[in-house]
């Protein structure tokens, strides 16, 4: 192509011919890492997204660029997406709460009634 760009940086490149075939090989963009962001000391790390990186050290560097460049951030974790173990989403119903579980809930214990009844009987 004629190398006449308005961008001086582009004019410094030696661009290939139009129609030239460039292909990226599968896997060339590395592995995927999940990123967890901590907003302040003492807070939980929260999942914020992913980065592509060749190893965990660089994943941290990319995560800092991608998720630490604005809001407050004091720490980041990265972990390979392939290492995350999760329940199957289809099994969501296993978390359905049994309404009969009042025995493990504060609201399941009503002491005031008894206290009042006891006081009245005095």
């Amino acid at each position: 192509m004629s190398n006449e760009s308005l961008d001086p940086r582009v004019n410094r490149l030696k661009l290939g011919e139009a129609g030239e075939v460039v292909k990226v090989a599968e896997g060339e963009n590395w592995n995927i890492y999940e990123v967890f962001h901590q907003e302040k000391r003492g807070a939980h790390h929260e999942h914020v997204g992913c980065v592509h990186a060749p190893d965990s050290q660089l994943a941290l560097v990319f995560a800092k660029e991608q998720f630490g460049r604005r809001k407050k951030c004091v720490n980041l974790w990265v972990v390979k997406s392939a290492d995350i173990l999760a329940f199957d989403v289809e099994d969501e119903d296993m978390f359905a709460n049994n309404l009969e579980k009042t025995y493990r809930d504060a609201s399941g214990f009503k002491v005031m009634e008894k206290i009042n009844k006891f006081k009245q009987s005095k």
Partner: protein
């Protein structure tokens, strides 16, 4: 920045196999009920093949638009007027590339690899927002892009963030938060020229005149000719029609342009107070399709720059892939 309303679809797309078109009716009914209730769909959930295909198409082209969109603005980094403008422009361009990464990741959750998406971009199979096939001729073009194209993109993205696919919504939430800075710095640069010297105002007016048609194109062809919308709206992939989004944009931003004494190159542009809709001359849609199909002033340059980056970055990616094979320096 840059989710246009118009998402290119391959003209002779492979027809889905019969069983894919009518995937299991019970599951489909349950899926559509979930969406109607306002639930989000996540990557591991069952979804119709067509929903997956359309989402990949939408999110992938949104991602390409972010990355290619950095090029016209990047043109002016070396010559930004002043240190603060240069810092802001570099920060914005970095954000756009970051948005591209977030969106590629969202699309990857649907099963298409980032490499495959990049290859489709480089081969011309997959498109990006048409506005970036036009050149940024002066600094005023950067102000117009930062103010008005970002504003148009925000209208689109705020709508899409209420869509049905969880990973896309989460990416858009983060993107919209950062876009608010893009819009504000663009508006600031725009106002500075609009309230400046005669030469500055003339430069801005010239940029507005050249960008108005691409901006009107941004939301895509009018509803009366736009295909495959109904199902996508029911599935909450598309959240508003092209004309509705265009109208929302005109309503919010035309007054902000006119109040500065600037004009827009369409004598028919006016708001019909009775209907609440804006009236305008239909932009040249033949031009729109000509540019999308490769005939714009910058299509070739944009793709050649992306190919250059992929080719010249390859040795870095490969070297990093094999950390054991480091060059050893002599110790003595």
């Amino acid at each position: 920045m840059y989710g246009g309303g118009y998402i290119f679809d391959e003209p002779n797309k492979k027809q889905l196999r019969e069983e894919e078109q009518h995937d299991e009716p019970e599951k489909l009914a349950a899926f559509e009920e979930r969406i109607a209730r306002g639930e989000k769909i996540e990557s591991g959930d069952w979804m119709p093949a067509e929903y997956r295909r359309q989402l990949i198409r939408l999110i992938e082209q949104h991602a390409h638009s972010e990355v290619i969109g950095a090029l016209p603005e990047g043109t002016w980094i070396t010559r930004a007027p002043g240190f603060k403008r240069k810092l802001a422009l570099i920060a914005k361009v970095q954000d756009e590339i970051g948005h591209g990464q977030l969106l590629y990741n969202a699309a990857e959750t649907l099963g298409k690899s980032r490499e495959a998406m990049i290859n489709d971009l480089l081969s011309g199979k997959s498109k990006y927002s048409n506005v970036f096939n036009y050149p940024a001729e002066t600094w005023a073009d950067v102000a117009v892009i930062g103010f008005l194209i970002d504003a148009a993109a925000i209208v689109n993205q705020v709508a899409n963030a209420k869509g049905s696919y969880g990973p896309y919504c989460r990416a858009l939430e983060r993107i919209c938060y950062e876009e608010s800075f893009h819009l504000k710095q663009g508006h600031d640069a725009f106002i500075e020229l609009a309230t400046g010297t005669l030469a500055q105002r003339e430069m801005l007016q010239d940029a507005l005149n050249r960008w108005w048609q691409p901006i009107m194109h941004f939301f895509g062809p009018p509803d009366k000719v736009s295909s495959h919308s109904e199902k996508l709206m029911q599935w909450k992939v598309k959240m508003a029609s092209n004309d509705d989004m265009r109208n929302q944009f005109l309503d919010a931003y035309v007054p902000k342009i006119w109040e500065l004494g600037l004009t827009l190159p369409d004598p028919a542009l006016r708001k019909n107070e009775a209907t609440g809709r804006w009236e305008y001359t239909d932009p040249d849609w033949d031009e729109f399709f000509r540019v999308i199909n490769g005939g714009g002033p910058c299509n070739a340059e944009r793709l050649q720059v992306r190919k250059w980056a992929e080719e010249h970055g390859r040795w870095v990616r490969q070297a990093l892939m094999q950390p054991a094979e480091r060059k050893a320096f002599p110790v003595a």
